[in-house]
């Protein structure tokens, strides 16, 4: 499509989105935010006008560099590709519209691996490549490792879904440069618990198949912690820990089946979930019991019908390409269509998160520039992002004072549909868990805080249910 057209579309759809998301996504928060104009869009328009004219003064000529730090090798490569896809998508859209205050965006990618490798990658981005911001889904371990260094290096980093409870509560309680465009990892187990409590009131025996590292262990721990509150009758009967990137889950599945649980929680993701699901089908896990997948959705485009049967409950973090419903929320429709044009894939939540993160960054710069007339430093930009809002294909986002993007979390039960090569969520089952029941209240803006006590540990908070 031509530049003009796309720009107009984007603006139109985005504007329409404000109406759309209310109905479609139904992210619940205060009317005050509802009234607020969608800043992302407003700025896009203004830039559109200035773009043609000479670049505004006081703005550096050189392009803005975005460093994507994620996996581009190994079994999790799909994750890195999703992040890169989202960044490239955002960059192209912004560049078409004249860039950020006339500065074009340039996307770099660097492979990460283990925590120490990742730390090095990040440091190199800042010290050598002189990037302006970084983004990427790094996994919990890496996130925990690099967060302190990001604060030291004074360069914004937009995490997707990699931030563990440990990071939020211990390593970096008052972040300035760290942003979490996805929800904290602690949110998902909570959502899983709420789904189980709601959908399987009669269940008593819970089992787990979770990757053997900090994320997997936290996922199971907090799921049970929340369940003990929501449905005290449910007990964990067996927890198995396959290694990350395992190829053979048959033993774990058999062990779980032997325990005859009512519900199985699994936080296996990426390639692991694909292999697990396939073997689970063969061993009749999906027939014998109910499966709730916390993060399987990460491999969205690999979840073909022969791998994922109907009737599996799946969380989609904070974005699912069919929720907010495209027909009700044109911005999402536009987003999915465009992304499929680019990559022939359905956008995973990583794509959307990087995308909206970059728009939040753009909008912050433009706001500060409009106010002060001078191009902002990193710390100014980050402060401007905190406590701001952005319109994303997943709906309107509130960004808290500690850099958390506040989302409603979509979930649903899988079904097979002729129009889709992959297993999709049955629209009738799709629901949203509202932020105020998901996040540590400390990270919520006052209007969402519940209970009103702040500085409360997540576990303590669950204990108050």
């Amino acid at each position: 499509m031509s530049e003009k057209a796309s720009r107009r579309d984007f603006v139109k759809t985005a504007a329409a989105g404000i109406v759309g998301f209310g109905l479609g996504a139904g992210v619940g928060y205060g009317a005050s935010q509802m009234m607020a104009p969608p800043p992302g869009v407003a700025r896009t328009v203004t830039v559109t006008q200035t773009a043609a004219a000479k670049p505004p003064k006081g703005v550096p000529k050189e392009p803005i560099k975005i460093g994507i730090a994620s996996w581009f090798t190994g079994p999790s490569t799909m994750v890195g590709e999703a992040c890169l896809g989202g960044a490239q998508f955002a960059a192209d859209e912004i560049n078409k519209a004249g860039g950020i205050l006339g500065r074009k965006i340039e996307v770099l990618k660097r492979d990460i691996g283990t925590p120490d490798v990742t730390v090095e990658a990040v440091r190199r981005y800042v010290l050598e490549d002189k990037v302006d911001l970084m983004a990427g889904d790094t996994g919990g371990s890496n996130a925990n490792a690099i967060v302190p260094h990001i604060e030291q290096l004074k360069t914004p980093f937009f995490f997707q879904c990699s931030t563990t409870v440990k990071e939020v509560e211990e390593l970096n309680p008052n972040p300035l440069y760290v942003f979490r465009t996805g929800e904290q990892n602690l949110a998902e187990p909570n959502v899983a618990a709420q789904i189980i409590a709601r959908e399987f009131p009669n269940a008593t025996k819970i089992a787990g198949i979770n990757p053997d590292y900090v994320y997997g262990r936290e996922a199971m721990m907090y799921s049970m912690m929340a369940l003990n509150k929501l449905a005290p009758n449910m007990k964990s009967v067996l927890e198995t820990w396959p290694a990350l990137n395992a190829t053979d889950f048959s033993s774990h599945i058999t062990a779980v089946l032997a325990a005859k649980p009512d519900v199985v929680i699994t936080a296996c993701w990426g390639g692991d979930f694909v292999t697990l699901a396939k073997q689970a089908t063969a061993y009749g896990l999906f027939k014998e019991t109910n499966v709730v997948s916390i993060l399987g959705a990460m491999a969205l485009n690999s979840l073909t019908k022969d791998i994922v049967p109907p009737g599996v409950w799946m969380l989609h973090r904070d974005y699912y390409f069919m929720a907010p419903a495209p027909n009700l929320y044109p911005l999402n429709k536009w987003f999915v269509t465009e992304y499929r044009k680019r990559t022939n894939k359905y956008p995973e939540f990583d794509v959307m998160q990087v995308f909206s993160g970059i728009f939040a960054y753009k909008q912050a710069i433009e706001r500060v520039y409009a106010a002060t007339g001078s191009y902002p430093e990193n710390d100014e930009i980050c402060r401007a992002i905190q406590n701001s809002q952005v319109v994303s294909p997943a709906g309107h986002r509130v960004i808290t004072s500690d850099g958390q993007f506040i989302n409603a979390l979509p979930y649903g039960k899988t079904m097979h549909h002729a129009d889709y090569p992959i297993a999709i969520l049955d629209p009738k089952t799709v629901g949203f868990i509202q932020p105020e029941t998901v996040y540590n209240p400390k990270s919520l803006p006052p209007v969402l805080q519940y209970p009103l006590g702040t500085g409360m540990k997540y576990s303590d908070w669950i204990a108050t249910w």
């Binding site: 925590p115 120490d116 440091r123 690099i146």
Partner: protein
């Protein structure tokens, strides 16, 4: 030591100490890291190049030292937290030497593939322990490493990483290199070479091969320990994957690349390996492809490694000793 050695050494040191003033910050950091690996590789060469034992698990000692440092810095240590680099270094050397002694005592009963694989076994065991003991080692997270004090002075993380620590590492690098030089030119050095060339005959001329192999093993463990202890604060974080059989492969490659039968070889190898890695990873994610290709090429075409190929006398010697003895 001959005159040109001294000249080369002095020139090298002067040049090295000027580097941070001319190089961009990032490369000062990179070179500091490189020197840590150079120490590690140099230490490894005494077991591979000198004694003729191929270990596929020396990253174990890198990891042991790095985790020792990380552990001593943990807040949980309370009053016992240590931030003095000197003290950390000494303790790290101690631990890696101890582990080296214990593991070595078992390993040196084997040679050839068995030696390589039992080392591999140990490093993987250590690796899986690091993963499992979440509350001690931080599991896959690994542990953060804070900025240590150098001779009682603490610096900001930027000065530390991109300037001052470079000189600290350089100093230790110079010392360790000199010590290794002495070892190589000592009777022990000759005895080890004899063992490499023909362990049977070595035993029949009265060299107790077992004890000397162990000695060489422990020395290499200590050097790996020093490398690891210095690398840890530079990198600022340590995670279990410092010690896997794959990372153990790196040091073997450094030695082969540089030339494992020459003294300077391992050092040169470390420099080539690490900087090549840094540069290549800059523009492609297919680093291991290039690494693999170069490994094959070197094995087939320059088995003497860069230095073996460069130097005039060595190639003959090298050619002699890498061929399998019929």
């Amino acid at each position: 030591m001959k005159l040109y050695h001294v000249v080369a050494l002095v020139a090298g040191l002067v040049l090295a100490s000027l580097l941070p003033l001319i190089l961009p910050k990032y490369y000062t950091f990179i070179f500091a890291v490189t020197m840590c690996f150079a120490i590690y590789a140099l230490g490894y060469s005494i077991i591979l190049g000198r004694t003729g034992l191929l270990s596929f698990g020396h990253a174990l000692y890198l990891g042991v030292a790095a985790y020792t440092v990380a552990f001593l810095m943990r807040p949980e240590m309370g009053a016992f937290r240590i931030f003095s680099m000197e003290l950390l270094l000494i303790i790290a050397i101690g631990t890696s030497a101890l582990v080296g002694l214990g593991v070595g005592a078992i390993c040196i009963r084997y040679t050839r593939i068995f030696f390589g694989l039992i080392n591999l076994g140990f490093v993987m065991l250590w690796h899986s322990l690091l993963l499992k003991l979440y509350y001690v080692t931080g599991g896959t997270d690994g542990l953060p490493i804070y900025i240590p004090s150098l001779f009682g002075v603490t610096f900001s993380h930027e000065i530390f990483r991109t300037f001052i620590f470079y000189y600290y590492v350089l100093g230790i690098f110079a010392i360790t290199t000199y010590i290794m030089w002495r070892i190589y030119n000592s009777p022990l050095g000759l005895a080890l070479k004899a063992i490499r060339e023909n362990s049977v005959r070595a035993e029949f001329v009265g060299i107790p091969i077992g004890r000397y192999r162990l000695a060489a093993y422990v020395i290499s463990a200590i050097y790996a320990g020093i490398g690891g202890a210095l690398w840890a604060p530079l990198n600022g974080h340590v995670s279990p994957d410092v010690s896997t059989w794959l990372t153990s492969g790196d040091v073997v490659l450094m030695n082969i690349l540089g030339g494992m039968y020459t003294f300077t070889g391992p050092i040169v190898g470390a420099f080539i390996f690490y900087n090549l890695k840094v540069q290549i990873m800059h523009f492609t994610t297919y680093w291991s492809f290039i690494l693999g290709i170069s490994a094959i090429i070197f094995v087939l075409l320059f088995p003497g490694g860069v230095m073996g190929w460069v130097s005039k006398v060595m190639p003959k010697l090298v050619k002699k000793s890498y061929r399998q003895k019929a």
